[in-house]
C-alpha cells in the first residue's frame, strides 16, 4: 500500500514541478467558470426558469450546476490516456512489465496524485472565488455522503474509461484521436457542459444506457437535491455496476494487448 501512496505522492510532486504551470491552470479554471456562468445568464435572459423534462430549472439552479460541474471536472479528470499511450508508443511499457507492480493500480494512484494536487491548487481557489460571486448552498447533511460516494465513483469510472482507451494504443498508436473522442463524448453525454435536463427525450434515453452521465450529471443532481434518497442510492448502485463492467473490460483489453506485445514486440 505504501508503494501505491508513493506513486500518488510522486505524481503530486510532478504536477507541481512547474510553478507558472500551476498558476496558469488555477487562473484558467476561474476564467472558465466566469465564462460559463455568463453564458447561462445570457441564455436565460430575463427568464426566471425553464420548463424541462425534469421539472422547472431556474437560472440559480444553472449557476449552481456550472459551479459544481467545474469543481467536479477538477476532481475527476485525468491524463491517464496519454500517460499510457506514451508508455506504449515509446516502448517504456516494456520497462513497466519488468517491475513487480500492477500498471492499472499504479496509474489509478497516479491519477489520484494529480487530483490531490489539483484539489489544493485549483479547487480551493475556485471554491473561494465562487463563494464570493456565485455562493453555493451546502446540501442537507444526509445528502453529502451520498454525493461524495457518487463523486468518488465518478472519478473511478472516468479513470477506467481513460485507462481502457489508453490500452487501445497497443493496436492503434495515435492515441490522440481516441482521447479527443472520449473527451467529447463525455462532455456531451455526462452533462459536463449542458445538463441532461435540456436534452431531447431520445438523447436522455440514450444516456441512460451509457456510463458517462454517472460521472457529472448524477452526482450534481444528488447535490442539488433533484433526486430523492432512493434514486440517489440507485445511481450509486448503477455506478458500482459500471465499475464492475469496466474493470472486466480493462482486464480483457490489457491481456489482449500484452499478449500482442510479447508476441510482436514493442
Amino acid at each position: 500500500m505504501r508503494l501505491y501512496f508513493a506513486f500518488l505522492a510522486n505524481e503530486f510532486q510532478t504536477n507541481l514541478a512547474y510553478k507558472s504551470d500551476v498558476f496558469l491552470k488555477m487562473l484558467g479554471r476561474v476564467m472558465g467558470l466566469f465564462v460559463q456562468a455568463a453564458l447561462w445568464t445570457a441564455l436565460y435572459h430575463n427568464t426566471v426558469s425553464a420548463e424541462t423534462n425534469m421539472g422547472q430549472i431556474g437560472l440559480n439552479d444553472m449557476i449552481n450546476y456550472v459551479v459544481l460541474s467545474t469543481c467536479i471536472s477538477i476532481m475527476v479528470n485525468n491524463n491517464t490516456i496519454f500517460q499510457i499511450g506514451d508508455k506504449i508508443r515509446s516502448g517504456d511499457i516494456g520497462l513497466q512489465l519488468m517491475k513487480p507492480v500492477s500498471l492499472q493500480t499504479a496509474m489509478l494512484f497516479q491519477a489520484m496524485g494529480i487530483n490531490a494536487s489539483r484539489l489544493v491548487f485549483e479547487l480551493v481557489p475556485l471554491v473561494a472565488v465562487a463563494a464570493i460571486f456565485y455562493p453555493l448552498e451546502l446540501p442537507p447533511v444526509q445528502v453529502l455522503p451520498l454525493f461524495l460516494i457518487a463523486l468518488a465513483n465518478g472519478f473511478v469510472i472516468n479513470f477506467l474509461l481513460a485507462y481502457t482507451l489508453g490500452l487501445v494504443g497497443f493496436w492503434y498508436i495515435n492515441i490522440y484521436h481516441l482521447s479527443r473522442l472520449l473527451t467529447d463524448v463525455i462532455k456531451v453525454f455526462s452533462g459536463a457542459w449542458i445538463p441532461l435536463w435540456f436534452f431531447p427525450q431520445i438523447l436522455t434515453d440514450l444516456s441512460e444506457w451509457l456510463p458517462f452521465r454517472l460521472i457529472y450529471f448524477s452526482p450534481i443532481t444528488i447535490y442539488l437535491g433533484k433526486t430523492d434518497a432512493f434514486d440517489s442510492l440507485m445511481i450509486i448502485l448503477q455506478q458500482f455496476m459500471w465499475i464492475g463492467i469496466l474493470v472486466l473490460v480493462a482486464k480483457f483489453v490489457w491481456h489482449r494487448g500484452i499478449s500482442k506485445l510479447v508476441i510482436q514486440g514493442g
Binding site: 508503494l3 508513493a6 516494456g94 512489465l97
Partner: protein, 344 residues
C-alpha cells in the same frame, strides 16, 4: 559455479508488414496487408553461470535486444526455452521481476520531474527493500558513483552521465541476481565510463551479481568481460573467452601516421601490410599483426619520411565480425575447444 541462465534453441520470429510503394500501394495496403517473417533470433543456445560478466555483442539489428527482452520476460520466444534460475520469465513475470535489474542506456526508469531520491524511495517500496539494506546500498552508490552529489535534483536537470549513474543505482537497489545492461555507456565521457565500469565490477564481486552487457564499445568489453558471445543475423558467431577472440580475429590493426611533409604513395613500399592510404601528411596503414608488427613498419618508414606522430588502433567489434564472415571456421573450432561445444 552453478548455472543461472540456460538458453536452449531459442528462436524468435516477428511478422513484419510489407509496404507497397507509391500512393496506390499505400491505398492497397489499407485493405490488404501482406506480411513477411523476420527471424530476429535463430536457434541460439548458451548457458551462463552465477557471477559471470558476459558481453553480448553484435552489430545493430543482430538480435541482441530481442534476446535480452526474451530473457527479461517481455517477449515470448517463438520456439525454444530461456530459463533463468529455474524460472521461465514469461510465465512468472512478477516473481521473476524481483530478481532482475535492467538498464537501457537510451531510456530512464526514473521520474522525470522530481528528485532522484523520490524515485529511489518508490523503488524501495516496490521491491520491499529493508531499511538497513537500502541505507547500505545508498552508501555504496555514494562511495563509488558519487550519487549523493545530485540525489536531490530532479532528473530533467541531470547530465547524461549523472542520469546514467542514477539509473544504474535504481536497477541495483533491490540487489538483483541478474543485471541486464543495454549499452550502459552510450554517449558518456571517458571518466564517467571508467567510473561506471569500476562500479559494475565492484557490484559483481561484492554481491555476486551476474551481469549481461550489450555494447558497441570494445573497451567496455575489455575492461569488464571475461567471456563474450557474438551474435549476428540471429545466430551465435562466437562464444568464448575474449582473449581467444582477439587472438583469432582481432589481429588486424590500423596505424595512423603524421609526417612532417606531404607523403607520396608510390615512394613507400612496405612488405606484409594489407592496405596503405596517403592523404597529404597523413598515412593510414592497415595490417595484420601476426604478419608484421607495428615496430617493423615504423622502422621501415622512418628511413623514408620524418614521423611527427602516430597512433595504433586495435580492431573494433565491427571489424572482428567482418573477419568472422571471411573466415568462419576457426570460430567454431575455438568455441568448441574452449567451451566444450556449447554452440547450438
Amino acid at each position: 559455479m552453478s548455472t543461472l541462465i540456460k538458453v536452449d534453441h531459442l528462436r524468435k520470429v516477428f511478422k513484419r508488414q510489407v509496404r507497397s510503394e507509391g500512393f496506390a500501394g499505400t491505398i492497397k495496403d489499407l485493405f490488404y496487408r501482406r506480411y513477411t517473417d523476420k527471424i530476429a533470433v535463430n536457434d541460439i543456445s548458451f548457458t551462463i553461470d552465477r557471477g559471470e560478466i558476459v558481453g553480448y555483442i553484435g552489430p545493430n539489428g543482430a538480435g541482441k535486444s530481442t534476446t535480452i527482452k526474451m530473457l527479461s520476460g517481455i517477449l515470448v520466444p517463438t520456439e525454444g526455452i530461456g530459463e533463468v534460475g529455474g524460472l521461465v520469465p514469461q510465465k512468472t513475470r512478477k516473481q521473476y521481476s524481483r530478481r532482475i535489474g535492467v538498464v537501457f542506456g537510451q531510456r530512464t526508469q526514473l521520474w522525470w520531474d522530481i528528485p532522484v531520491s523520490e524515485s529511489f524511495k518508490l523503488l524501495k517500496y516496490m521491491y520491499r527493500v529493508p531499511d538497513q539494506e537500502y541505507k547500505r546500498s545508498l552508501e555504496l552508490f555514494s562511495d563509488v558513483l558519487r550519487i549523493d552529489e545530485f540525489i536531490s535534483a530532479p532528473v530533467r536537470q541531470l547530465s547524461l552521465g549523472q542520469r546514467m549513474r542514477a539509473d544504474l543505482c535504481a536497477a541495483l537497489l533491490h540487489n538483483p541476481d541478474i543485471l541486464y545492461l543495454d549499452e550502459p555507456t552510450i554517449g558518456l565521457d571517458v571518466v564517467v565510463k571508467e567510473n561506471i565500469r569500476d562500479f559494475i565490477r565492484q557490484v559483481n564481486q561484492e554481491r555476486k551479481t551476474t551481469v549481461i552487457l550489450t555494447t558497441h564499445d570494445m573497451s567496455d568489453i575489455e575492461k569488464l568481460c571475461s567471456r563474450v558471445i557474438v551474435i549476428d543475423h540471429g545466430k551465435i558467431m562466437y562464444d568464448g573467452a575474449l582473449g581467444e577472440l582477439k587472438n583469432i580475429y582481432g589481429t588486424g590493426e590500423t596505424m595512423v601516421i603524421e609526417a612532417a611533409e606531404p607523403v607520396r604513395r608510390d615512394g613507400l613500399s612496405l612488405p606484409g601490410i594489407a592496405d596503405l592510404a596517403c592523404d597529404g601528411k597523413t598515412v593510414t596503414i592497415k595490417y595484420d599483426k601476426t604478419v608484421v608488427n607495428s615496430t617493423a613498419i615504423l622502422k621501415t618508414l622512418m628511413n623514408k619520411i620524418t614521423i611527427t606522430d602516430f597512433v595504433v588502433h586495435p580492431s573494433d567489434i565491427e571489424q572482428i565480425i567482418r573477419k568472422m564472415y571471411e573466415n568462419p571456421l576457426p570460430a567454431a573450432e575455438a568455441a568448441a575447444s574452449s567451451w566444450g561445444g556449447k554452440i547450438g
